[in-house]
Assembly symmetry: C2
Homo-oligomer: 160 residues x 2
């Protein structure tokens, strides 16, 4: 019974952070998203693309199939900001954010409770036998934490 | 059996974020902690005090007894940064961070697994009956998320 609760709790925390970020995006103009979150640091556009690519990779980690936005991996994960990579516009990325987070959330809600306690795709059977807490649920928690880390940075672009 | 795993997972995520932040603090000089994380935004010293005060409040929420640093509540929780409140120095706050996080971690490790699924102190019996996922474990997750949100901001003070 507590397993149901824990999964609910994890999904609620994920959904709340994703919803908060979408609200945050609505408060920052497309132009302001081109600014650095602090002088010399990543730009808002880069962190937005980075967060879409990171959540997209949940699809392979959790066994949903292929990524939906593999083209975002090079400009937003494999290379740092301001390294001359081509990237979609802020407007396009904001639209992708919505489409991606809605589709992903629907898919996450379909995972049966017991499956959350099984291994994710990037850990071997052998390692999982030794460290069974490295399950799908843990992936969701660590991704929630990663999402929030960068959300705190993007929030600095809100003009008071 | 999965309950043990979930509690382990939650404690590991908390501890990892606290350890990361301590490493981050070691990379930022006391002088740089007096700077704003982005122009016009909170200073590093404020966020450090804010995070200590926030984790200190876990003591009352989880039923450990009184807060250890109640004096930090006014300058770092009740009032915004740069509102003229007296506060400890960065050096003192860095020391408090270590003392507090070590003591808190030891205490968290002593909580029996089953207790993590009981209500925390700021939810009524009635509400908890309706929403049993609002348990002590959830408090630990949401505080881990809060910790990380501001850690992402303080990280902007690291000089590359």
């Amino acid at each position: 019974m507590n397993e149901d609760l824990v999964v609910k709790l994890a999904l609620q925390n994920w959904d709340r952070e994703m919803t908060r970020f979408e609200k945050l995006l609505s408060e920052i103009s497309d132009e302001d998203m081109l600014g650095e979150v602090s002088p010399g640091k990543n730009r808002g556009i880069y962190l937005l693309g980075h967060l879409i690519a990171a959540s997209d990779s949940l699809r392979t980690l959790l066994g949903f199939g292929d990524k939906h936005y593999p083209d975002l991996e090079i400009p937003f994960i494999k290379t740092p900001d301001k390294s001359g990579q081509e990237m979609p516009s802020v407007k396009e990325l904001k639209e992708i954010w919505k489409t991606n987070s809605t589709a992903l959330n629907e898919r996450l809600m379909q995972i049966p409770v017991s499956e959350w306690f099984t291994k994710h795709s990037s850990i071997s059977e052998e390692d999982f036998a030794k460290e069974p807490h490295r399950n799908k649920l843990n992936v969701l928690f660590t991704r929630t934490i990663h999402q929030t880390y960068h959300a705190g940075q993007v929030a600095l672009l809100v003009k008071k």
